[in-house]
């Protein structure tokens, strides 16, 4: 069909609008380009944007560092209206980047959203505050699944509270892909074979190497040199067949250039919502499950407002609106009760139990392993 093949002006404009509205995820793309850092540096450098210390009541600005498309603007506006505190939001591309920025110091951040495997590193480098749960009355440990909270608590002290969780699987466009893959083995074999030139992997060593390890049935977190060597060989074999190595996979999936891509829950939700033929698959060998947390960096200037904002966003009624917007499942049972039935039954957000059991949380050592970094560099430059 002609109109299916050619990109029409109308379609181009639609894509453009999508980009402008920000419904296309920029999370990892921003990480790669470093734009997140630029935004953060600018935000920190502008004296007018620096938070002022609150005395009696809440006031001033709270600097929230988070991921793109990760909040419901209504909720943020309501917070400002209620407390008089302006929210200054910085969006970032990657955990490593957040870490790099915090390590460099003087960020001016009050609240940020690290992923599970980074929290111990922050604690080790003394970059985050222990949290006083008394100041978070709407956070209820009892309503949380323990495996989503454990990595926020180190040696009995709570450093971070969970925001939401998600998984890393792959999306397939069922219009073009008829093989119905269900495993990472099939994912890589199809890449090297019939789907050559149509598959994308993340520009992110944690998931790309992790899912290559899953091909052989190894742990997602393996740091074993021999196993990593096997994964590298697989990746190098697949490289010429890949459409792209890019964490910003929504545009290519949407315009049909890519038929398969490694994907996170929320992106899968958004893609499926717009293009029902795009399905989300969790490899049956396993893969990654993760949790994003709220935390307060050391030296946050407006701590009172930081606590107030976290508490506000974790309030079940508010959090349910958040979930509705970003498409990632909440960790809070109270919130889940308030989320629409449609969403609760969506297998992208809430996969079947047997699929979840094989998933692993990424480990801090997985992320910081220099060998993995080198393997990724060799893979990309090959």
């Amino acid at each position: 069909m002609a109109d299916d093949k050619i990109i029409t002006p109308q379609k181009f404009i639609e894509e453009l609008r999508r980009f402008q509205k920000g419904s296309v995820t920029r999370r990892h793309f921003l990480g790669v380009t470093g734009l997140g850092v630029a935004t953060a540096v600018l935000g920190g450098a502008m004296p007018g944007l620096k938070p002022r210390k609150a005395y009696a009541a809440l006031s001033g600005t709270v600097n929230l560092t988070t991921w793109p498309n990760y909040h419901n603007q209504e909720n943020l506006d309501a917070f400002t209206k209620k407390t008089g505190v302006t929210i200054n939001m910085n969006v970032f591309g990657s955990n490593e980047e957040m870490l790099a920025k915090l390590q460099a110091g003087s960020t001016g951040w009050d609240v940020f959203v690290p992923t599970n495997y980074t929290i111990s590193t922050y604690k080790g480098l003394d970059l985050i505050e222990p949290l006083d749960l008394k100041l978070l009355p709407n956070y209820d440990v009892a309503s949380q699944d323990q495996r989503f909270t454990s990595e926020g608590t180190i040696d009995g002290t709570v450093y971070a509270v969970p925001k939401n969780w998600g998984t890393t699987g792959f999306v397939i466009n069922t219009k073009n892909v008829t093989q119905n893959p269900t495993s990472w083995k099939e994912f890589w074999d199809l890449t090297k074979g019939p789907l050559s030139g149509r598959v994308m992997v993340h520009d992110y060593q944690l998931t790309t190497i992790g899912n290559a390890l899953k091909y052989f049935g190894y742990s997602f977190n393996s740091n074993d040199e021999k196993q990593l060597a096997e994964a590298e060989k697989l990746m190098l074999e697949a490289k010429p067949h890949l459409f792209a190595i890019n964490s910003d996979y929504q545009p290519s999936m949407r315009n049909g250039d890519a038929w398969v891509s490694v994907a996170w829950t929320g992106d899968a939700t958004q893609l499926h919502r717009d293009l029902p033929e795009i399905q989300y698959v969790l490899g049956k060998e396993g893969g990654e499950i993760w949790t994003d947390y709220f935390a307060i960096p050391k030296g946050a200037a407006n701590k009172d407002a930081a606590y107030a904002l976290i508490d506000w966003l974790l309030t079940p009624e508010i959090n349910a609106k958040e979930v509705q917007a970003h498409g990632y499942p909440s960790t809070d049972a109270r919130t889940n009760k308030l989320v629409s039935k449609e969403m609760l039954e969506n297998p992208i957000l809430y996969p079947a139990k047997d699929l979840l059991t094989n998933l692993e949380f990424g480990a801090a050592a997985t992320l910081t392993n220099p060998l993995r970094a080198e393997i990724m560099a060799r893979f990309k430059s090959a």
């Binding site: 093949k5 181009f12 870490l99 792209a244 545009p251 290519s252």
Partner: protein, 289 residues
């Protein structure tokens, strides 16, 4: 009260005039560069970043990014050459053929793309070069299943598109100030318009080509968004290696060593270029006239 002698007053004025640029260069160029060089002899801290040390390991390790250097050092000159090949006819048309009335409009049109975000424009190219863009049109001509996006060719196309104005403008300037009487003199002496172009216009506009090429080459050497977006992450430049080293694996000392090597390569290139231009006094003169 003794008055300031004119000479010292003019020295004060000179110092004041030089100060902003001097401070700018010192604090934003020289100082960071010194920091980068110091870091390049350090070691990676356990959790990433920099730990003080003195080692040459980072430089010894440079071959680990050899492919990135190779890609950059082949694609940057090639991209520069292609940009020059596309820019020259355009600049020539603007400077020589276009009517004065339409010239301003056309010049503005050359610059207009710069008003839009570079990201947005590269995203547009992702679609244009994607399978529903140009390849689908070529399919009608019988050239089927052509892959452009996420290949080095897409990066080159993006380079030509993105840097064209930077090349067009200096060439335009050198062509525009070319004395038209020289072309009449050439014709008068028996050269047809093609020979006049080769013997007069081209050599006299080479300074513009050299300036534009230098600009484009330097920017391409440091490019990382372009290979990331139009190369789909499969075309790996030094810039991409640096982003990974600083922001992903956070191996700052190795990143600093790669940066230092990149700066050194560019420095050598510019020195060679300057020598070439300065040794050709006639060209320099022509550029100044």
């Amino acid at each position: 009260m003794p008055q300031l002698a004119p000479i010292s007053r003019s020295k004060t004025v000179t110092a004041l005039l030089v100060a902003p640029a001097g401070l700018f260069f010192f604090f934003l160029l020289v100082l960071p560069l010194i920091v980068v060089v110091i870091y390049s002899f350090g070691a990676r801290a356990d959790a990433g970043g920099y730990a003080p040390a003195f080692t040459l390991d980072n430089y010894a390790n440079l071959p680990a990014r050899g492919q990135a250097f190779f890609n950059t050092l082949t694609l940057a000159p090639l991209g520069t050459l292609l940009t020059a090949l596309f820019a020259y006819p355009l600049a020539y048309f603007l400077a020589v053929k276009a009517s004065p009335k339409s010239r301003t409009l056309l010049l503005v049109l050359v610059i207009v793309p710069f008003w839009t975000s570079q990201l947005l424009r590269y995203y547009a190219w992702i679609m244009i070069l994607g399978s529903k863009g140009i390849p689908s049109w070529l399919a009608y001509l019988g050239i089927s299943d052509l892959r452009i996006i996420n290949t080095p060719w897409a990066v080159l196309i993006g380079a030509v598109y993105g840097f064209l104005p930077l090349m067009v403008l200096p060439i335009y300037v050198s062509l525009e100030k070319l004395d038209k009487r020289l072309l009449e003199a050439s014709a008068d002496l028996g050269a047809n318009s093609w020979r006049s172009f080769l013997q007069v216009t081209l050599p006299l506009s080479l300074p513009g080509v050299a300036t534009g090429s230098m600009l484009v080459f330097i920017l391409l050497m440091g490019e990382y968004i372009l290979p990331q977006l139009l190369g789909g992450g499969k075309v790996f430049f030094i810039g991409n290696a640096l982003v990974d080293l600083f922001l992903q694996s956070r191996n700052w000392p190795f990143g600093a060593a790669v940066s230092t090597a990149l700066v050194a390569i560019m420095f050598v290139t510019i020195v060679i270029y300057m020598r070439f231009v300065l040794s050709r006094g006639d060209v320099r003169r022509a550029a100044l006239v």
